[in-house]
Amino acid sequence: MPKKFEKYIVIFFIVLAIIFPLITQNDYYIHIMTLAFIWSIAVYGLNLLAGYTGYLSLAHAGFFAIGAYAVGLLTVKIEMGFWVAFILAPIITAVIGFFIGIISLRTKEHYFAIYTLCVGYVIYLIIDKWDSLTEGVRGLMGIPAPANIGPISFTTPLSQYYLVLAILLLVIFIIYRIINSLVGRTFIAIRNSEPLALSLGISTIKNKLLSFVLSTFFAGLAGALYASFVRFLGPDIASTAITFDLLMYLIVGGIGTLFGPIVGTTLIVWISQNLQFLQDYRMLIFGPLLTILIIFAPRGIMGIIGDWKVKSSEKKRNKEAQKSQSELKKEA
């Protein structure tokens, strides 16, 4: 498949995302889509760490919640200006991520997953139990919508949709730049084999920490958007159930692929939206579907497309090789 063709597909989807609200004209659908985009941003963070660096963090919802509560607490309790709070939130999350990263990255593989699972639960407990700060289970209310930027206001679902879409596209662009650079190659080398990466002179400690901090930054950013969009926060957003939702989006879309997070997240958010009438029984459909997908396509939807591309280019190569061989024969 030629590169140009891929470019057109990407442009097609961007245009589709831009005109989507005009097509539906339905505020509820716009709302759902905005939420899906916010979750996607968090999943992109998870993908950088779990997909490209090979470290499955199960504290991701915790960092999402830290970003959300940072915006919430700064605007509600300190009455800080919205955009300052919004910019501070992912930075605060990344700083906390830095310290948690230093400790948790001393472990590997399953131990890392279990350790971060505990970290995520501790974050949940802190939010849940520290009533005086976070309002606990009562929830944090009165978070302002994004403040106007000059003449642009963000009070309607439509304007919020475009704000989130713009940030999502920026995030995808940044991730694209990272994974296609020497920095991304370094992450991938670590995922592939840490002893090999070390033997190639790569400081695995530094690079893993960088990936971890970046992943928490994007989780915090998504959380900050969530807070200003939903404008009410409860401790549940830090729960492990959310972490596993994010992980499911990533696995379905394709772990370690550029478009896996957005594909998986929008797809599942829409499917579960359409299966809402089944209530909790929808898991009866989801469970087997997910199992089948993991058995037949461990790298998700984008993984299937990637494998298919590899196969077709390998076929082309074989054909060309045969052709040049038969030409040689003819000459002889």
Binding site: V183, A189, L196, L198, G201, S313
Partner: protein
């Protein structure tokens, strides 16, 4: 003295995997380490390349004690290595696999990546040129765009060499570079190793294939149960009583 170990020892629990080994690597030569399975050869390499910290003793490289340096710092000094089992990224192309080998000679950081700075572009260009250069050296130019999962075992070995060479090493440690390939391919890999030496790279390798070692090595050390039992030219090793008893006698057919 170029690279030397002094009373190098590694204990795993009660087991002396490497036991008080004194060894000097001859600069610009092919140095071989042989010994029966479990003799401690790989562990010896791991000690030099910083994968393991020695229990006691030292590794001296160009008059600097590198015994306690981490692997990545040792690699930066110009010491490269391959592993007994190749662990390449199977889903990626040969070329893509090798580019990262030059990473240690570049300085681009996250900022450079996000803003695609001039430095990043130059360093990426340099890494790609390096990858093409080493792939040419190991004879894989034609397979550069192939996915690693689809190439032969022998080609994978070559990719592993290319990766090590992309780090700009002055000395390479090859752990069983021809394990699992057929005799013809072994010949080809051997001539590639000789080519490395001709390029001015010091080679140190572990091998079980005696004929190959006897033909190409300038110097051989024999390990048995973690102890050095002999050291010398292929001829000296061939005639060493202790070696014949401990090693050749048992697997002379190898």
């Amino acid at each position: 003295m170029y690279l030397a170990t002094k009373q190098l020892t590694k204990q795993f629990g009660g087991l002396h995997a490497v036991n008080e080994v004194d060894f000097t690597v001859e600069k610009g030569k092919i140095n071989a380490i042989i010994g029966p399975n479990g003799a401690g050869k790989s562990t010896f390499f791991n000690l030099i390349s910083g994968v393991h910290k020695p229990s006691s003793g030292q590794v001296i490289f160009k008059n600097v004690d590198i015994s306690n340096l981490p692997s990545n710092k040792i690699a930066k000094l110009g010491v490269a290595r391959t592993f007994q089992t190749t662990n390449l990224f199977e889903k990626s192309t040969v070329f893509e696999n090798v580019i990262v080998g030059h990473r240690l000679r570049t300085n681009s950081n996250l900022f450079d990546a996000i803003f695609r700075t001039k430095r990043l572009q130059q360093e990426e260009e340099r890494s790609k040129e390096k990858a093409l250069e080493v792939l040419d050296f190991v004879g894989l130019t034609k397979s550069a765009e192939r996915v690693v999962a689809n190439i032969s075992q022998e080609e994978k070995k070559r990719v592993a060499f290319a990766l090590a060479l992309a780090t700009n090493p002055e000395i390479v440690f090859l752990d069983e570079p021809t394990a699992g390939v057929n005799p013809d391919e072994t010949e080809e890999l051997s001539s590639l190793i000789v080519k490395m030496k001709e390029r001015g790279i010091t080679v140190c390798l572990i091998e079980h294939k005696m004929q190959m070692i006897m033909e190409m090595a300038d110097k051989i050390m024999v390990l048995n149960y973690g102890k050095k039992i002999a050291e010398g030219t292929p001829n000296e090793i061939n005639n060493n009583e202790q070696v014949i008893e401990a090693y050749l006698g048992r697997s002379a057919s190898a």
